[in-house]
C-alpha cells in the first residue's frame, strides 16, 4: 500500500534520482527534497501561479503535478533558468520597472512571462495582461510587471526588424 516509487529526472541540468511517495507534488519535491526554494506555494489549488515551473519546456502548476509524473522529464525552476541566462532580459526589465516587491510571485511571473515572449512575440499589452492573469501579485498592482514584459517584447520586436 502506497510504496515509494523510484524516479529519475533532470532538474536544472542535473540528473536527480529519488524514491518518493506518489502523493508528493513537484513543488514540495523541489523545495523540500532538493532545496530549490525558487518556486513558492500559495494556494495549492492551481489558482495563484506562485508554484509555476517548467517541465519539458512548458510552464505547469507545480502543485498540480506529481513528482512521480516528472519521471524521465526535464524540469526547470527559476534558479536553473537564471543560470542559463534565459531570463536575463526579463529580470533586468523587472528591476528597472520595480516589478518586484516581496518577490513571492516573481518566480512564477518570470516563468509565465518567458513562455509568453517565446510563444506570442507579437503580444499586445492587453494580451500580456490576460496571459499573466494566472499569476497573482499582492504587492505591485501589476502595472509595473506588465510594463517590464512589454519592454522585453518591444525590444525583441525592434531587434527583429
Amino acid at each position: 500500500m502506497n510504496p515509494k516509487i523510484p524516479i529519475e529526472m533532470i532538474v536544472n541540468g542535473n540528473r536527480v534520482q529519488a524514491e518518493i511517495e506518489p502523493r508528493r507534488h513537484l513543488v514540495d519535491f523541489l523545495r523540500e527534497d532538493l532545496g530549490l526554494k525558487g518556486p513558492h506555494l500559495g494556494c495549492e489549488q492551481g489558482a495563484c501561479g506562485a508554484c509555476t515551473v517548467r517541465v519539458d519546456g512548458q510552464i505547469v502548476r507545480g502543485c498540480l503535478y506529481l513528482a512521480v509524473q516528472a519521471n524521465g522529464k526535464v524540469v526547470e525552476t527559476v534558479e536553473g533558468l537564471t543560470a542559463q541566462g534565459v531570463l536575463t532580459e526579463l529580470q533586468d526589465a523587472f528591476m528597472r520597472r520595480n516589478a518586484m516587491q516581496c518577490g513571492f510571485c516573481s518566480s512564477g511571473m518570470l516563468l509565465s512571462a518567458a513562455e509568453l515572449i517565446e510563444q506570442q512575440p507579437q503580444a499586445t499589452r492587453e494580451q500580456v495582461r490576460e496571459w499573466i492573469s494566472g499569476n497573482y501579485c499582492r504587492c505591485t498592482g501589476y502595472h509595473s510587471i506588465v510594463d517590464a514584459i512589454m519592454d522585453v517584447l518591444e525590444a525583441q520586436r525592434e531587434q527583429t526588424q
Partner: protein, 285 residues
C-alpha cells in the same frame, strides 16, 4: 493542504486500464491532465486509493484527419487545440474557445477528454462539442460505442459514460467554407468560471443561416441548446426582426439555474445578450 496517500500506476495499455478500473471501482481515479483531480485531492475533497495515470496511452492522443472527420484524442491538451492548424481549419470554434480555459500553465496539461468527462456546467468543451456535432467514442469491457455529444451530458457532473468506460476521443465533422461561428464567455475575471457562455455554429449562405447550433453553458446543470431559437433561425435571412424573435425564444425556452454569481433571471437576460451578439457576428463574418 496535502493530498492523502494513494498508490500510483502508469498504465501501458487500454486493457490494463479497464482491468484496473474493474478491480478498484470507485477507489481508483483516472489521471489525464490532473488539473481538476489533483486540486481536488490537495483539498482532500476526495481520497482515492489509487491513481491510474493514462497519459502514456497512444490511442488517446493526436489530432488527425480521418476521412470525413477530425479525430481529437481524449489526451489532447487545451494548448494543443489552441495551436493546431487542423483545428483552425476544421473546427475553428475550438481554437477561439481554448484561450478562455483557465490559464496557460493549466492549459499545457489539462485535456479535451478530461473536461468532457467531468462535465462541469461552466466548462467550455462540453458546449463546444455539441456545437460542432461531435461524436464521443468510448470503450469499456463490452467494447466500443459511439455517443453523440448532444446525448452525452446527462445531468450535473454526470455523463453517459458508464463507470467501467473510458473516453477514447471524439470524431468531429469537418467545418467548411460555409461555416461561421461565435464563441463567447462572460466571466468576472479572465480565466474564472464562466458566468454565462455561448458556443454558436451555423452554415451561412448569403445572409441566411442554417444547421444552427446555439449551445449555452454555465446557465444550467449541463450545456443546453436553444432548440426553438435554432428552429426559428434555420433557413431564414438574418435581420433585426429575426434576431429579436430568436432572443425571445431562447430566453423563454432555457430554464436557467442560479449560481454564486447570478440569479436565474440574470442568466436568462445574459442568454439573450449572448445570442444577439453571436447572430450579429455570424452575419457579419
Amino acid at each position: 493542504m496535502k493530498a492523502a496517500a494513494f498508490d500510483y500506476i502508469k498504465a501501458q495499455s487500454i486493457p490494463e486500464v479497464l482491468a484496473l478500473m474493474r478491480e478498484h471501482g470507485d477507489d481508483a481515479r483516472l489521471m489525464a491532465g490532473g488539473q481538476t483531480l489533483l486540486a481536488t485531492l490537495n483539498m482532500r475533497l476526495s481520497e482515492p486509493q489509487i491513481l491510474i495515470d493514462i497519459t502514456e496511452l497512444a490511442e488517446l492522443k493526436g489530432i488527425e484527419l480521418s476521412g470525413e472527420h477530425l479525430w481529437v484524442g481524449a489526451l489532447v491538451t487545451h494548448t494543443e487545440i489552441e495551436n493546431a492548424p487542423l483545428i483552425k481549419k476544421y473546427a475553428p470554434i475550438l481554437q477561439a474557445a481554448a484561450p478562455h480555459i483557465a490559464h496557460r500553465a493549466i492549459r499545457n496539461l489539462g485535456t479535451w477528454g478530461g473536461s468532457l468527462v467531468y462535465g462541469d456546467p461552466a466548462a467550455e468543451w462540453p458546449a463546444c462539442s455539441i456545437a460542432v456535432n461531435a461524436t464521443m467514442v468510448v470503450r469499456g469491457l463490452q467494447g466500443e460505442r459511439r455517443i453523440p455529444a448532444r446525448d452525452f451530458f446527462v445531468d450535473l457532473y454526470t455523463t453517459a459514460l458508464a463507470p467501467d468506460e473510458i473516453l477514447m476521443g471524439t470524431e468531429i465533422p469537418l467545418a467548411n467554407a460555409k461555416d461561421v461561428f461565435s464563441f463567447q464567455e462572460l466571466a468576472r475575471r479572465h480565466g474564472d468560471y464562466a458566468v454565462a457562455g455561448l458556443a454558436a455554429v451555423a452554415k451561412k449562405t448569403s445572409q441566411a443561416l442554417s444547421d444552427c447550433n446555439f449551445v449555452f453553458f454555465s446557465v444550467a446543470t449541463t450545456p443546453v441548446a436553444a432548440v426553438q431559437a435554432q428552429n426559428l433561425v434555420n433557413g431564414q435571412v438574418v435581420n433585426a426582426e429575426l434576431i429579436t424573435a430568436a432572443v425571445a425564444a431562447a430566453r423563454a425556452e432555457i430554464e436557467t439555474m442560479e449560481d454564486i454569481t447570478n440569479s436565474a433571471a440574470a442568466k436568462s437576460h445574459l442568454v439573450g445578450v449572448l445570442l444577439e451578439r453571436a447572430l450579429k457576428k455570424m452575419l457579419a463574418d
